[in-house]
Symmetry: D2
Subunit: 349 residues, 4 copies
Amino acid sequence: MQTRIEVGILGATGMVGQHFIKFLQGHPWFDLKWLGASDRSAGKKYRDAMTWHLAGGTPDTVADRAVEESKPGNAPRLLFSAMDASVATEIEQAFAQAGHIVVSNSKNHRMDRDVPLLVPEINPEHLKLVPGQQRARGWKGQIVTNPNCSTIALTMGLAPLKPFGIAKVIATTMQAISGAGYPGVASMDIVGNVIPFIGGEEEKMQQETQKILGEFRGDHIEPLPAKVSAHCNRVAVVDGHTVTVSVELSGKPAMAELHEAFEAFAGIPQQRKLPSAPPRPVIPMHEGNRPQPRKDAERERGMAAFVGRLRPCPVLDYKFVVLAHNTIRGAAGAAVLNAELMHSEGMLD
Amino acid sequence: MQTRIEVGILGATGMVGQHFIKFLQGHPWFDLKWLGASDRSAGKKYRDAMTWHLAGGTPDTVADRAVEESKPGNAPRLLFSAMDASVATEIEQAFAQAGHIVVSNSKNHRMDRDVPLLVPEINPEHLKLVPGQQRARGWKGQIVTNPNCSTIALTMGLAPLKPFGIAKVIATTMQAISGAGYPGVASMDIVGNVIPFIGGEEEKMQQETQKILGEFRGDHIEPLPAKVSAHCNRVAVVDGHTVTVSVELSGKPAMAELHEAFEAFAGIPQQRKLPSAPPRPVIPMHEGNRPQPRKDAERERGMAAFVGRLRPCPVLDYKFVVLAHNTIRGAAGAAVLNAELMHSEGMLD
Amino acid sequence: MQTRIEVGILGATGMVGQHFIKFLQGHPWFDLKWLGASDRSAGKKYRDAMTWHLAGGTPDTVADRAVEESKPGNAPRLLFSAMDASVATEIEQAFAQAGHIVVSNSKNHRMDRDVPLLVPEINPEHLKLVPGQQRARGWKGQIVTNPNCSTIALTMGLAPLKPFGIAKVIATTMQAISGAGYPGVASMDIVGNVIPFIGGEEEKMQQETQKILGEFRGDHIEPLPAKVSAHCNRVAVVDGHTVTVSVELSGKPAMAELHEAFEAFAGIPQQRKLPSAPPRPVIPMHEGNRPQPRKDAERERGMAAFVGRLRPCPVLDYKFVVLAHNTIRGAAGAAVLNAELMHSEGMLD
Amino acid sequence: MQTRIEVGILGATGMVGQHFIKFLQGHPWFDLKWLGASDRSAGKKYRDAMTWHLAGGTPDTVADRAVEESKPGNAPRLLFSAMDASVATEIEQAFAQAGHIVVSNSKNHRMDRDVPLLVPEINPEHLKLVPGQQRARGWKGQIVTNPNCSTIALTMGLAPLKPFGIAKVIATTMQAISGAGYPGVASMDIVGNVIPFIGGEEEKMQQETQKILGEFRGDHIEPLPAKVSAHCNRVAVVDGHTVTVSVELSGKPAMAELHEAFEAFAGIPQQRKLPSAPPRPVIPMHEGNRPQPRKDAERERGMAAFVGRLRPCPVLDYKFVVLAHNTIRGAAGAAVLNAELMHSEGMLD
């Protein structure tokens, strides 16, 4: 792992692109060398092509770098995609066609039959879809995706319970404004308010959860046969999606078994000590009123999920709260961890 | 109804007491004549006995009135109770014993077998518990209660669906800070944050909902045999509790039937045009992202519940959002409407 | 005053237009009959031409009214202008040219030499500019303006002190997000934050204050020869601009004289009991930590300014805090009060 | 500097005490070995003696440490004081009497004639008060203080301008809720609101600023003969006090000279590379709408002040905005930097 791997970002000027830049600062394996954006930005210095929206300022390492057109050519082989959904389909495919490894945060290909929707601690074996994807599409490159920011919180909370047989899930989210990008949610709509709707979010949570927790079956993923229902809400929180979950488990475990499962949960990223992997991906909190987004989401560099308040549910079997940082574990950090897993599998060689 | 009825407030200096004072300003039937508080406040002018926390200032009609001790004696027969739970049991009972009609917002007697937990549009017949209450306790007076502020939102949303057979309910609340009184929630705990816990709230929502929607059976209320599960959260909203609801209905109605039920819902308060009754107690909203607390809770003088986003639930049968103003419909306004119903029944004569 | 006067709104679909519609509901003199907007909206029903952003819903009185093109023709003589600054100059002039009385909230003509920048309690005599305006421009109609929303708070606080000789003013604003319209301020920029800049606002406050407090001199207003310095900031408040003020007074009055001046301040709108005039335009608050926007701005129907914390300033002479509702007294209500003053002067006959 | 210095915290269980604990984690010189609190907490484990209020959880390094009584005895020589003002006077003096070096964040001794009110970049020579303090009070130990959290922001902004002759200053603060401790500001008072008053804060800012920028005169500090006026406000920000400043400078410098002064400002902490010293203590920001508390306060580990929007003031000479992190640079970090300066002066030997 001595040689650093050159990487680029597709959609580098948007808010998710900025999160990628911030998260990649000082990364031990990946060396950010290329910033792709729309034609309109191409040729400008990065600092002139965007307004930086994150806390802290534009990192010096990218401020004076020239922004490139989002076309295959001189881009590095490994690209993180932060492209807007309106353009991601064609551009990501063009890069994969041209031999690039596209590790994407965009929603466009997540539900494609031959594209992994990857959470390294949960379904690393879904990467086995890639050879079939390359064959079927005639690509030398590939596309690998990470889930929607609310799905990641839910699936991190559910994954430890998978051995007990997840049958039914009802989840209500309280999602941070950073999940909507910039300018995103108008302040007149959210200060002192709740918006009980986020376009397309409930469908994404329901479908993606079934795929992520599903089984690799040669050329596709067999979705988890669980019923999943999501209620998605926006609240006046900056970072961190909080999700209340009621779950029915066919194995009817005792509550102590759930506690143990949360405590013991870990995966390949932890075994291999991947650079962005948190020591524990799911952290049970024992205070009665946690996790809380402003106080907990940034812990563990934003890469862990926090669960709390496990208790019986009078309707399904158990209920609990789970929290994850939506722009780190739910976006940029998720994709980088995906790439780290791929590298540890030799897929970047 | 020409003679105005003198009323008093038990616990007039606290925040709920202030809401009662504000709500009773200009009431056509009830004339606020008596303000009871703790011994420590008794004898002071109201303005000197408390700090006013509501928008607007202390109403002139009460500012210079002397605060009385919370002991039966010169108090009016009809009393609204805003007493703190730590003292409400004994004091409310003492007043009922002494012949007063105590219309209480406190939680202490809500679940008593012989005390109505009243929502006038939903269960007016529960008032029939009162004669038995008086007999059993040897009281000339009586105690009638209204639900917890989060329960009222949920039950207003569920009541129109009762004819379809409510079997299972999972609800997640996003509750306003005003529900915690003053000083209540510390700003360091809620600005930019969510607190996924409110002490005792989930149990109250679960039990009270079953009682409110239950049936009068001579000397008690047979609870609705539905399973109810609540997840209670605090968010940075000033007024208005928002609740996401998934519900299983044994009658398996079509969605159009639910829409009709919400549209058609009304009760005795509407038929009798009680002064605080909203023309429609449950108002369906058709915009895709409503109701919202800051924009909707104060409509209809804070006395209606607003429902929106009715859609199928992949786990139970349907899901929707319901909103109610927690300090008006969920507290002071609820108790005043209870007293109006009681007056229209001749119970205050 | 028995016959109601038909009025229209230029720019009726924007946020300020919505405030005009809301404020004019039930107005005793003015009957809203005409809604003008851009070509793109013309012909649509009002409900289909915009998204309603204010608390409560679209008033029934306008929901089904057809939106008109913003061109003279069938519009009523009296028009309130809520036009965006990018188009207000030409359109307002075209209507004035065509004989309309344009009572405008737009900034475009405020500083024109022959246009009144009117605050009815402060400078009603500035209306005498109108005949000269009509002569010079060859108009049968006219344009009369109200100040910027932050200027109105400052000038309401300063006007009672004008007799003492206002020499220097340093003001810092904490302005509500509603002042920026919709979508206006991105939530990512203001939740848990302060933005210490509002484009053009400081210049407006400085210049408009001098004009409003200035003297009518036949064909122009001689600005008040006071030095005024503004620091303008945005904070996470929905409605109500709070302003801290330090002021130097050449007359060197005692503090008691200032208290008396604030207490006694009133003007023609109060004498004539104009429908939108608050009984007292400036209300001194005696609690040590008031006024506060969420608790006070909506009092007096949003039409009064509230002052508090008057105390000596170690640098200039005195300092205090002043608050006004930015979208009512600072926008729609200001223009309507202007029109009421004009009507009471016979200018609408 | 190889041997680490043992340190303790007086008032370790309160919110400022928690900030000290957090800030001292991993400190290269200071080894936190002792946690003092009230009698009531003494003997308990730290984790049981308090509720942790900061983001992240209770550091493992202190969680199981026993809390000590706040009495001299087995405490380390160097103590950071986070004591509540109600008890700090006697306790801090008792420790100083007993030979301890008390580096205090409490307000109690700040304005004592013989106590340094230290900002290491601004007035390191004020430490020369210590020998006289020890003589006059008969102490082997000493008390050294840091300023109030709003004063530090103002003085960091003013210090670079001192060579130009600071004559008059008018400052308005927009202060974070964390400055009020816990539970501190009630959420009902600050969500969607501004509180234009903070008890005692304006007096502190005015007096402390004059002392900090004043001159050492053998046995006392001659205050800067500048007039200073403060308007203090609380806003719904978690961390970071923003201050608007108008300043009159007797030297009448050109604006370019001010820009240069801000750019060039540094002091002994930077020369000596003290561990907590930011590379640049005052960082000019060139974007037109910065600094902003949520986006900038945590930069430079919370130890720098950020200035922006330098421009002419129509009343005094110039105006600008300055921001500093109130619980780091304005409290715990300030005291630790004071102790670092003292160590670099040999005062801890």
